[in-house]
Amino acid sequence: MICIDAKKNLLKEISHQAMFDVSDNDLIDLVKEYDSFMKCVAILESIETSDITPLIYPYEIETNFLREDCIVHETHHRDILKNAKMTQDCYIKVPKVVK
């Protein structure tokens, strides 16, 4: 059983990796959601699947469709850029993280 502080730290770490800001207040609700989600995971994990081939697609079919190399340039990029918190000279500005 993971203690509440450990859960908070885990969720903080995951949110940090996913680059989300999470406040302490958010964490209280997130821990509840985490508990409920992990109960579902426990149910799934209890199912015996060792000899079952994973199903990747709802339909086990192959396609042969490939898109022709044509440009359809729509000018939605300005709308897309509105999602950015910060911009500079048309660039999206983010905190520096070098990987």
């Binding site: 396609t63 000279d89 983010v94």
Partner: protein, 477 residues
Amino acid sequence: MEFEQIIGLEVHCELKTNSKMFSSAPVTFGKEPNSMMNEIDMGMLGTMPVLNKRSVELAIRVCHALHMDIDEVLCFDRKNYYYADLPKGFQITQYRRPLGKNGYLDIEVDHVTTRIQIERLHLEEDTAKQIHYNDYSLIDYNRAGIPLIEIVTCPDIRNAKQAAAYLEKLRQIFLYTDVSDAKMEEGSMRCDVNISLRPFGCDSYGTRTEIKNVNSISYVQKAIEFEAKRHEELLRCGKSVLQETRRFDETINETITMRTKSDAIDYRYYPEVNILPIHIDHQWVLDIKKQLPLMAEDREKIYIEKHGLSKREAHFIVSSKEISDFYEETIQFCQDFQKIYHWLSGEVQSYLNNHHCTIYQTKLKPIYLSQLIQYIKEDVISSQQSKQVFDCVMKEGKAPEVIIQELDLRQILDSDVIEEIVNHVLDVNASSIQDYIQGKKKVIGFLMGQIMKESKGQVNPKMANQILIQSLQKRTQ
């Protein structure tokens, strides 16, 4: 104890398509940041990636050129990581089933041919371009989604020279198959180096380090040389090499730690659920092979065996695809292969070096070069005049014929006219005749210079020389 270097290379190459790998946004370079992307590239909810046919065709061309087995079922996977260069939080790639497997490339270093086995070639999408400043980064998603191929060698490379030869030859394949402009300086071809050392005779591998994103062939060589020396120094001191990812700092010619194994990323690969397996037509794969253009080594062979060029001359021409293409176009008008080579390796190459441009960026056309060679052959202009005509062609882009007329450069071939000029020169240089009588043969060179000056370089030098000697003999009898 002597150590052996074990090197494997991973090369990324951007494919020359009009639109992106999974979206119809345009593929561009140097445009306004974030203006060449759409909802699919940004991974917005509700969008679906659809694979670009041309990207598959170009990747198959490279598979054929590298003698690979081709998987005719295209399967894609998600490589998950959270980083600003991919807004989706994952990159679409081929992890389980690469398009090509088990290929090879023969390289030649110091007259020794070595076969480098190629493990895999897979398709994936490029990431965004990032510019890092002290406390923030700027992101341009125009590059996100451009089709890439990644080619991974087996650990068959044994030194920096072989690595450079492999990269040169691979770059040549990208250019000759016309799949990419393969400009390392612009990032359309990038290389990661894996290197480890082991004592000669040892079967097992040592701990390897990876050097990421090296962006020139000479930097790859320098990075390998530095890293091999660093490993060797550690091993000789009884220390161990850490498994880590490093980068090459070209300002100090050294590699620097980026992350160690403990920080290694778990990419949690899993099948890309939005793209069903795609079965590609077997006949299409065969047709692509049939239509494959001639590679550099095929052209080199033709230039030696059919055009009579030496290996060195043929190698010079094929070492640049553009020069080779220009040569191929020129021989449609003129079959004087040797003369074409001399022009391309001489005046043309010198012009390209001085002007930092490629041959197709100049005003020279294959037909102009063939005409220039023909006019010299027919004695319409002298070889000296041809250089003047060449300079004008490069400057003004006019046909040689027009330039010859405009500058009145046509050679004087009329022997009476030449004789008149020769006699005039002898009349005003009487002392030279005395020198000639006294056996000073060097005077002929001086008199020829005066004749060329008098005729403004227009007399045919061969005829002028003959008439000069005849006239001197007459005057001394």
